[in-house]
């Protein structure tokens, strides 16, 4: 066990804080103060099946997902934890690949994995590998992003194609026997956020559209700020193959999961500048305005369909299932 931890995690995540191997990581508060005035703290567990999929694996998800939950507060992500629950019988080489991916993802994002935990459970009492990461970042002084801050007149921007992750996973699972080469959009968004904040420190709300997709985040926005949101169907960037999968299975791409997409609302005056700035970043090349905020129908998200009608985009009940009827 100790060997496993050393071999797989300590060696891959190697950094001076982790290598102390204390029960906790520690670092100077004064170092944190240089980045801002508030600490951001978040956690997520990752339970994806399959562990490996086009565009990433559970490890890249676990690092980027938590980075993104920090980033959308405007925080500079700094330190992560890594807790794994291993099912007996898990292949050690797969575990090593995951750990290596985590380290690569962390390094790319400039964060350190500073402490962790490893549990092994009986065969049949976990699904191969679960990862939890918690993360700490520092929010720059003056930045105040919250789902409660949205105001009528704001515009809603997304940084690119929707539904790639959810679709890639559905296909990778193989159960529905669909074949196509859609890749997960798994990517860290903190440097994109940094760019956005540089041109628009007045960002109102920002959230990564993961599980539950775009529709869920927009509903959270509408309810939290008690505003109405109207999005344009024709503006939604959805790639052809994702549409194909949705048509075949009767799924709505608005609810599909993403792992590298954020929704940001900014005051209208900043929209153009923000879009241009976003498009200059690799994770934001396909950024576009998808809607705006209104004071009619507070708490409700409306979709203007392509031919001019509108409908409510509600929260999802349960998870989305393939339909036949």
């Amino acid at each position: 066990m100790r060997d496993l931890i050393n071999d797989i995690f300590v060696s891959n995540f190697d950094n001076p804080i982790l290598s102390q191997l204390e029960d906790q990581a520690s670092f100077e508060l004064s170092n944190l103060l240089q980045y801002g005035d508030r600490l951001a703290f978040t956690t997520d567990s990752y339970v994806i099946d399959p562990l490996f999929f086009p565009g990433g694996n559970i490890g890249t998800l676990a690092v980027n997902g938590t980075i993104n939950d920090l980033a959308v507060s405007g925080a500079k992500p700094l330190y992560l934890t890594c807790s794994v629950i291993l099912e007996e019988g898990l292949s050690i080489s797969n575990l090593r690949k995951v750990a290596q991916s985590m380290q690569v993802a962390a390094q790319n994002a400039g964060v350190q994995i500073v402490t962790g935990d490893t549990k092994v459970v009986d065969k049949g009492t976990a699904d191969k590998l679960f990862i939890n990461t918690a993360g700490i970042g520092v929010i720059p002084t003056g930045i105040n992003i919250s789902a409660h801050n949205i105001q009528p007149g704001d515009v809603v921007i997304v940084n690119g194609e929707l539904g790639n992750h959810g679709t890639a996973i559905l296909i990778a699972r193989g159960e529905l026997a669909l074949e196509t080469n859609i890749e997960s959009d798994c990517q860290p968004l903190h440097s994109l956020v940094e760019k956005i904040l540089r041109v628009c420190p007045q960002v109102r709300a920002m959230r990564d559209a993961t599980r539950g997709g775009l529709a869920t985040v927009l509903n959270e926005f509408a309810v939290s700020s008690d505003v109405g949101i109207v999005i344009q169907e024709q503006s939604l960037p959805i790639q052809k193959k994702v549409r194909g999968v949705c048509e075949i299975l009767g799924l709505d791409p608005l609810y599909l999961a993403n792992e590298g997409k954020l929704l940001v609302t900014v005051p209208q005056d900043y929209a153009e500048k923000v879009i241009l700035e976003m498009q200059s970043h690799p994770a934001g090349r396909d950024s576009c305005i998808i809607g705006h905020v209104t004071n009619s129908h507070p708490g409700i998200v409306l979709l203007k369909t392509i031919f001019g009608s509108e409908r409510i985009v509600d929260m999802l009940v349960g998870s989305q299932l393939p339909r036949i009827c």
């Binding site: 409700i300 031919f307 001019g308 009608s309 409908r311 409510i312 509600d314 998870s319 393939p322 009827c325």
Partner: protein, 379 residues
Amino acid sequence: MKYIDEFREPQKAKALIQEITKLSDSYPLKIMEICGGHTHSIFKYGIGGILPHNIELIHGPGCPVCVIPKGRLDDAIYISQQPNVILATFGDPIRVPSSTVSLLQAKANGSDIRIVYSPLDSLKIAKDNPDKQVVFFVLGFETTGPSTAFTILQAATENIRNFSVFSNHVLVIPALQFLLKNPDFKIDGFIGPGHVSIVIGTKPYEFITQKYHKPIVISGFEPLDILQSIWMLIRQLAESRCEVENQYNRLVKPEGNKVSLKVMHQVFEVREKFEWRGLGEICNSGLKIRPEYAQFDAEVKFNLPNAKVADYKTCKCGEILKGVLKPWECKVFGTACTPENPIGACMVSSEGACAAYYKYGHFAKNFPKNTVEKSIVTA
């Protein structure tokens, strides 16, 4: 996407609306779309909102998930709880409550329930799990019947002994006859089910025009299809015609699909009667596996409880399906009855009238949260 995007074009939609508006100016019209697929499209594309106010769309009984009676779901759950059984089914019915739990809850309690996209996928599960009994729990109209029939024939050819089908196939025509016979039933015309009609053709609808003197237009499922069908229907009314028209002629032929009809009749026979949730028993409205294929019939293989379970008294589904009431006129709509915890047929699938209103209508937000407590965690 070919054959999709062309039928969603906004310009053509506007033109159709304009025509419809022109023609319908003076009529207060009630049009029933029979098929749940149409209901789904109507809400998804907000068609109700762009039609003139005098046109009211009534959402018919054509959602197989909505109309499956609780007793049949109880049976499906019973099957799933037998030892060494895998129950395969489409995604649609798994959240529908039976008189005890939903399939989703049964799964959470340990039943092995798999979601498949095709009946053939369930047969594959049987081949992959020779030590299990695999039961395909199928619901669907005539559209899906041939696929189930082909699957049973293939199981017979390959002599797969651990596979059976729990058939809940229902038929559209007997349901329409049932509705039309009812004196309360006041509909000006029908949008006919496009995919069912691929199989059965357009002729079986002639009794509607001949006996009940209502016009019907068989329609595709894209928004332009539906708008065009409404327009064709109103034109019939305006011109005092009463015909079975076919808007969906890119797929529907008058005679239907002979291969599909043949295989369906080879494998299935018509039940004397079958219960529809919200409507009650309807003569000749269900399909049963023929005795020749009894070894693939879960109703033969398993000793099913087969209990009748009454619908809730408060539920107004029957009236809603007949167009007599609107969902929000039901006392429990959005309160005790929600998509998360549906009480009646119309709330159980997103194609049900009540569910569609709840999800896409403007009423959703005004109702208090459903407080029915679940006792276990489900996905």
